[in-house]
């Protein structure tokens, strides 16, 4: 991701003052170092966390250092398979030398969400209740189980993605615990004619459990972003990160995304992208509207109108097609001096930039992101609010080859959704066949069961990283491989569904026992 900042600083071409400042320092190194720190000064602040990798990789200090090998770019996978929730797969590999370490980070955990008031009290969980009388169980506080996967692609340093990977889940868990009573009641009353609790109504529409979970995810991202700002006062918190979270709860999957990482769901023969890549181009309208309604943020340097093409000085007085933020259609406008200012969003596709600087439009952190040697802050144009997509898994029929792939742009820049699906399916199909042909001993099958999703994740990273040739890193097809950090989860959907169904069956049996 860092390369995007650098490119932006170098490639932004304009005759105006900001652009001149941006181009003034052509020494890459100093640009890289100064760009993000903006106006910050004073003695260096301590780091909140020392550099580290996800806990489920079980790497010690020595191994963390060994993995920082830009020449070989080792693909690192979890060592203890059962550390991974849902026996999911994970693999990562660091960049080809564009930053000092791996700026991606990830987290995965099971959550037992209890009401805040009963955090220390007894709760209804499977293991503890076996020997207890039903009446005792009925008195216990409700508990909801969830599984969390988070992936964070840092830029301009590893600190932000590291902090977020270690804190976002607990912020989310706190928020969910505040509405767990409601969620349990809603789950219990689902499918029944009479409601056991008063529904929450908002005007004419009911507030559903989806609304509460989406709300918790959105708020968690916002609180995390605020906390990063606060951290920045005490610690060296440079740069920012994208954030994508997959939360399995109440039989559904919630994918919350703020950035350009991506989640893709494989089901049967279908391949469905379940997140949006938030690039400046994708969010041009939101960004332009922000500048249009808050012109002071533009510092008289940028133009928030959209034109059919880049406006030049020579266009002044002529008529060009223009779109005013907040509207969808196009109209003719006579060009004046103001319209020739630097466009707020410039470039296309992966090369689009906000204020010629950052190539991703949503994410966390970046509170210190200013245009080089200026006091123009870019943060107001970045959104920390995720888009949350809800996928109902309860009635679907899943096979062990049906998975959610979640990966940073290090993978998706060079591997299409279809190709990723092909690689994962090939790998999982292989182990399915070994399973079925019956010639393998129980130990071998057990080994395969444990590791197949990890091996699939490793294959994905291998495809994106490629191998080193005289011409740099190349994919097996000969095309350019990724020079970026690459991280991938491969999460089996059936595994979650089984757990969810077992839990439902267990609760129903308790209910039945209590009634009789």
């Amino acid at each position: 991701m860092l390369a995007r900042f650098k490119d932006a600083a170098m490639s932004a071409i304009a005759k105006r003052s900001v652009a001149e400042k941006m181009l003034a320092d052509t020494q890459e190194e100093s640009a890289r170092n100064n760009f993000i720190s903006g106006l910050a000064s004073g003695p260096p602040k301590p780091e909140k966390f020392p550099y580290g990798r996800p806990y489920f990789l079980s790497l010690d200090k020595e191994e963390v250092q060994s993995a920082i090998d830009f020449g070989t770019r080792p693909i690192i996978i979890p060592r203890k398979v059962y550390d991974m929730p849902l026996v999911s797969g994970y693999a990562e590999c660091l960049n080809g030398g564009k930053s000092s370490c791996n700026e991606d980070n990830s987290y995965a955990c099971e959550m037992h969400i209890k009401p805040k008031s009963s955090q220390n009290g007894k709760t209804l969980t499977r293991s503890k209740t076996v020997m207890q009388p039903m009446q005792e169980i009925a008195k216990m506080a409700p508990c909801i189980e969830a599984v969390y996967f988070g992936m964070f692609d840092g830029h301009a340093g590893y600190q932000t993605s590291l902090i977020v990977s270690r804190q976002l889940h607990s912020i989310l868990q706190d928020l969910l615990s505040e509405c767990v009573d409601r969620l349990v009641a809603m789950r219990a009353s689902a499918g029944k004619e009479t409601l056991e609790t008063e529904p929450i109504t908002l005007g004419f529409s009911r507030v559903t459990d989806d609304d509460l979970i989406v709300g918790a995810l959105e708020e968690a991202f916002q609180l995390m972003d605020q906390r990063l700002k606060k951290d920045g006062e005490k610690f060296n918190v440079r740069g920012g990160c994208t954030a994508i979270v997959a939360l399995f709860v109440n039989g559904k999957l919630y994918v919350a995304n703020a950035g350009d990482s991506r989640a893709v769901l494989l089901h049967g023969t279908t391949v469905k992208q379940v997140s949006t890549d938030f690039t400046p181009e994708k969010e041009k309208q939101r960004i332009h509207l922000k500048g249009f309604t808050n012109p002071e943020l533009l510092h008289n340097e940028f133009c928030s109108l959209e034109f059919q093409r880049r406006v030049a000085k020579s266009d002044i007085g002529s008529r060009m097609l223009c779109r005013v933020p907040g509207t969808t259609g196009w109209k003719f406008k006579t060009i004046d001096e103001d319209d020739t200012k630097f466009p707020l969003v410039i470039g296309h596709g992966k090369n689009a930039r906000i204020m010629g600087t950052i190539g991703v439009s949503r994410g966390l952190g970046d509170h210190d992101l200013y245009i080089y040697e200026s006091d123009i802050s870019i943060k107001p144009f970045l959104s920390c609010v995720p888009e949350v997509k809800v996928i109902d898994l309860r009635e679907e029929k899943y096979d062990q080859t049906d998975v959610l792939i979640m990966a940073t742009d290090g993978l998706w820049d060079v591997v299409t959704n279809a190709r990723a699906a092909e690689i994962v399916r090939n790998e999982l199909q292989k182990s399915k066949e070994l399973h079925e042909n019956g010639q393998n001993g129980p130990q071998k099958i057990k080994d395969l069961e444990k590791t197949k999703y990890i091996i699939a994740a490793q294959r994905l990273v291998m495809e994106a990283r490629g191998t080193f040739t005289g011409q740099g890193w190349k994919k097996s097809s000969g095309e350019n491989a990724s020079f970026d950090d690459i991280s991938t989860f491969v999460i089996p959907l059936k595994k979650y569904q089984d757990i969810w169904r077992n839990k439902c069956a267990f609760e129903n049996s308790i209910e039945a026992a209590l009634r009789s």
Binding site: G52, Y55, L59, E62, Q65, T72, C101, R166, R227, M462
Partner: protein, 212 residues
């Protein structure tokens, strides 16, 4: 701990020949009879002393299974030494040495020191490959050779250390360009004129106790 040189090793050979056990015996001085299949890459490290100089060995243990070959191949690059391991009780693992050697020669730097290891020497009763055959193969291909037992630790120290001595000798002879890290040799921090700023390593924080 500071060191004069760091040598990077890679351990290769068929699945089940005892690569991970050799590494564990060398780094932790213990033997684990049942070992999970290595499917990725594992790192090990140990300090040794040659000629009064502290040398850090950083060892990459790879997956031996055929299906992981392309990934394993990508780790040859940047290794100063390789331990090529076969199992003296399984002839097929000896027969595959040529393929491994071709792979290694093709994907590594030409100065890489290769130590051929016939492992499981404690299982004399089940021996399937004669020691002389191993010696002949090593002679023919210009490798150093030893028979080891990861179980009894016989010759394990020697295998790793002799490889290092060979690399060290090559450095003395000026064969290795020690300033090129692609050769698998790094000069220790206190010997290096400029110390590139690397993040100060830090382990991992477990799922608990890592939050505010």
């Amino acid at each position: 701990m500071s060191y004069a040189y760091l040598f990077k090793y890679i351990i290769i050979g068929d699945t089940g020949v005892g690569k991970s056990c050799l590494l564990l015996q060398f780094t932790d001085k213990r033997f684990q009879p049942v070992h999970d299949l290595t499917i990725g890459v594992e790192f090990g490290a140990r300090m040794i002393s040659i000629d009064g100089k502290q040398i850090k060995l950083q060892i990459w243990d790879t997956a031996g299974q055929e299906s992981f070959r392309s990934i394993t191949r990508s780790y040859y690059r940047g290794a100063a030494g390789a331990l090529l391991v076969y199992d003296i009780t399984r002839r097929d693992t000896f027969n595959h040495l040529t393929t491994w050697l071709e792979d290694a020669r093709q994907h590594s730097n030409s100065n890489m020191v290769i130590m051929l290891i016939g492992n499981k020497s404690d299982l004399e009763a089940r021996r399937d490959v004669k020691k002389e055959e191993g010696e002949a193969f090593a002679r023919e291909h210009g490798l150093i050779f030893m028979e080891t037992s990861a179980k009894t630790a016989a010759n394990v120290e020697e295998a790793f250390i002799n490889t290092a001595k060979e690399i060290y000798q090559k450095i003395q002879d000026g064969v290795f360009d020690i300033n090129n890290e692609a050769n698998g040799i790094k000069i220790g921090p206190q010997h290096s004129p400029s110390n590139p700023s690397m993040p100060s390593g830090g382990g991992n924080a477990g799922p608990s106790g890592n939050c505010c």
